[in-house]
Symmetry: C2
Subunit: 293 residues, 2 copies
């Protein structure tokens, strides 16, 4: 795959809006803000969730969400993904009724809520996944990736207040998705991989968001062995990464990073003199980030 | 109310964990990470949601969530809030069955999902709320508040990767809550206000998180007329704020900020020479923030 097969399109007029306001001295200003829209997802006749999204790839988002929540399995045959712009709805249709729909039906009849079922299923599958032990991450790739991702035009640079996720291979960013929530961005990449038959083999995953349990679970669900972020960690994220054998790298800014799981996959080949600090103009803030280790 | 009635307790051993890892040169390091735990919320016999939280105030979180989602009304009589640490569960018990439970029952029987109902209800109530038109925000308060909030010891300064929300009055931070999600932090404050009968009159709300539709809706639900953030905006957040007459201030860092709604409440009384830029050590990053306007 070539570099930036998919990348942000900050010029797309559907994704940002110009808004007037006032600055700290009471002077009129105009600025760009990101547009968010509700999108209600159905799996066949079952309403699943209403998400807030920038709305650029509803079909990938729908598929990726269902796959990452383990509601759709790789052997479920998807007949169609129908997006209706007028009513902000996307319907994923499968040939046979899914296992998830059966479970949900049963659960809803007894307790009226499906939360527990879904989470239980997710953890059950999580325990069975083995991530490629041969995968490596060269520090030279990491530095080059970060630089490319931070400097390519994006909604982030245009309007801020948005998360990015990037599927990478060696030092090449392949698919760069943005969305108001980091979960939507990762789900859109999962949907893209599913639709285009992209193998997780040899891939790395980069996110601007924090390394929480949910981000770790989704990356593992996608069979990607290495997860990198500018932002920090939560304890459960670290615990799950260690359990799954996921390489977890956080607080990756400029020449610095910390690995709290799977450090054995890291190859320290970067020449420190080559590492340029992020250009100030392109310096991306960590999500609720923190400078000190 | 006095300053910092509630504030973060970074020394609480339940809230952070020391974790070993490696840095960018392969050297062993040890760092603090924030602990997140699942908490399943019931309203009487109805399972509502499973949240990820740091777990410091499960009772406030439960009450605030239900109030902000409009599932619990101010005239529902709460008999007890029972937190069970062993099974990560909190149950809010009311004297009579709530309107929300009735609606959910009906809705679940027909479509198996309650998402639409809840959101519809929320917007219905949203339209009726009138925020205090007399409320003001002096820029001198804003600068003093930011400085106090950024320099008081917090989990953010200890471990990063956490959001903060603060209920304020004039230049005094009153209740400062942190949590892995900004929604939990605001909900804990709503629960605190409900439990202790704190009036929204004359209050300001500060958050480290982005000004999305959900944050605007929750602030309006809490009847607080002014919402301030270090982070950026989404278009729908701005639209809802304008509709509700909420003063919405974002990208508040150092001496700078932008108001995109309700700027008529701002009193520009700060002397620019007095405004000290954030001390570098305490400089807090905006959540997926952005330096340029």
């Amino acid at each position: 795959m070539r570099e930036f097969m998919v990348k942000p399109d900050p010029a797309d007029p559907r994704l940002t809006q110009r808004v007037k306001g006032q600055d700290q001295d009471g002077r009129p200003i105009e600025t760009s803000v990101v547009v968010e829209r509700p999108l209600t997802l159905f799996l066949n006749a079952q309403e699943v969730v209403t998400m807030m999204t920038i709305g650029d790839y509803p079909e990938y988002l729908a598929l990726g969400y269902l796959l990452n929540q383990n509601m759709l399995k790789l052997d479920d045959e998807v007949l169609a993904v129908d997006y209706d712009k007028e009513i902000d709805t996307v319907v994923v249709r499968t040939r046979a009724r899914t296992n998830f729909e059966d479970k949900l039906k049963k659960k809803t009849l007894t307790s009226g809520c499906a939360q527990g079922t879904v989470f239980g299923d997710l953890m059950e599958k999580f325990d069975d996944i083995v991530l490629d032990p041969q995968a490596v991450l060269k520090t030279s790739w990491l530095y080059r990736l970060t630089k490319k991702i931070n400097t390519v035009p994006s909604l982030y640079l245009e309007a801020g207040a948005i998360h990015g996720c990037v599927l990478c291979e060696e030092d090449r960013p392949l698919v760069y998705m943005e969305d108001v929530g980091r979960h939507n961005a990762i789900d859109k990449i999962a949907g893209y991989m599913y639709r285009h038959g992209v193998s997780p083999h040899g891939k790395l995953f980069y996110t601007t968001g924090r390394l929480t349990s949910e981000m770790v679970i989704k990356t593992v669900q996608m069979r990607i062995p290495i997860l990198i972020s500018r932002s920090g960690f939560t304890a459960w994220g670290v615990e799950l990464a260690r359990k799954a054998g996921l390489t977890l790298i956080g607080r990756a800014k400029g020449a610095r990073f910390i690995a709290l799981s799977g450090a054995e996959r890291i190859v320290y080949d970067a020449d420190a003199r080559e590492v340029v600090e992020d250009d100030r103009r392109h310096q991306r803030k960590a999500s609720v980030g923190h400078d000190a280790v």
